[in-house]
């Protein structure tokens, strides 16, 4: 019965022994005990078998999927560049078009003398306000996205 205590303390460190993570001294002490103890030897060999079983099981079938996935990643890179380029063009186009119409609208409005000046400035202010609000929301979104990415990489 006094054999139970050393076994318990050995078995607690059996995983670390198996993984060669103990100090040389501890590793040696464990080795001596295990050599003379069938129970600990049995548990050690069970854990060793379990370790390779887990590895075999979890890597099973990954190899074939792996090469396909790598291909996908490699093809993904130009695709991402293209889509970034596409978005860039789209935004530039939208800004130019928007700018053109805003310019047209304001010059026409300011030149139109049939409407009183304060109505003209009211309409102008209304549209400017809408535009600024839109910019504010856009900026919030962009900042949120950036900090989010930053978090993902650095935590």
């Amino acid at each position: 019965m006094n054999n139970l205590n050393p076994c318990e303390s050995v078995q607690e460190k059996l995983s670390a022994y198996l993984d060669n993570e103990l100090t040389q001294q501890e590793q040696q002490r464990m080795h001596v005990h295990i050599k003379n103890c069938p129970e600990c030897t049995a548990l050690l060999s069970e854990l060793t078998a379990l370790q390779s079983d887990v590895k075999g099981t979890l890597l099973e079938g990954i190899e074939s999927m792996d090469s396909r996935s790598l291909q996908a990643i490699m093809q993904d890179k130009p695709a991402r560049w293209l889509s970034a380029f596409g978005w860039g063009l789209l935004i530039i186009g939208a800004l130019l078009l928007g700018g053109f119409f805003v310019w047209q609208f304001t010059t026409e409005l300011l030149a139109d003398n049939s409407v009183p000046w304060w109505v003209r400035f009211g309409i102008l202010g209304f549209y400017c306000g809408l535009f600024l609000l839109f910019l504010g929301v856009l900026r919030q979104r962009l900042v949120a996205r950036k900090t989010d990415k930053y978090k993902k990489v650095n935590i």
Partner: protein, 182 residues
């Protein structure tokens, strides 16, 4: 794997195994891995030596998984995940041996915390110090958590084997009538 110059690709299979075990879904695990790999393409502040690169990569993959789970709002729905890790999503399971099926089933009885540490050590051969870095624990905790996880896995396997004592014999006998197995 030598055809590409990205050093992170060598850890792809093990990292995919980790993501699968955390997410329980093969397709989303691959998504997370692709995102992680693309981060290694774009980022300029990558570690230089290989050991640090590896720890960094596993951290990125792990965080990617947790972000994914958070997005899916199933952070605590272990039951859902385990259902998915199981048998419906594993097309190649037919080829897996009885022992491998049991190992899979036994892994599902563990908490994802326990599965994670087993995958990091046994599939990826990471040192306790590296695992401590990745999981933000101290080495002593890694040691005891890993051991408890392995003992729990062993226990689960014993229970499974006890509850299906004959089926191994039956399947291996019918699957190889030529008698060339083992």
């Amino acid at each position: 794997m030598q055809t590409t110059e990205n050093p992170y690709l060598q850890w792809y299979p093990g990292a995919l195994a980790l993501a699968r075990n955390l997410l329980g879904c093969h397709a989303s695990a691959e998504d997370v891995l692709q995102t992680s790999i693309s981060k290694t393409l774009g980022s300029s502040a990558l570690p230089i030596d290989e050991a640090a690169q590896r720890v960094w990569f596993f951290k990125v993959v792990r965080n990617g998984c947790f972000d994914y789970l958070r997005d899916q709002k199933r952070f605590n729905a272990d039951a859902d995940i385990e259902e998915a890790v199981g048998f419906s999503d594993t097309p190649d399971l037919v080829d897996a041996s009885q022992r491998q099926q049991w190992v899979r089933a036994a892994l599902l009885t563990l908490s994802s915390e326990q599965r994670e540490i087993i995958v990091l050590r046994d599939v990826n051969d990471l040192s306790y110090a590296d695992i401590a870095h990745i999981l933000q624990l101290n080495s002593g905790t890694v040691m005891s958590r890993l051991h408890r996880a392995r003992m729990a896995l062993r226990q689960a396997l014993l229970m499974l084997e006890k509850s299906h004592p004959v089926s191994t014999q039956a399947t291996s006998a019918t699957s190889s009538p030529g008698g060339t197995h083992e």
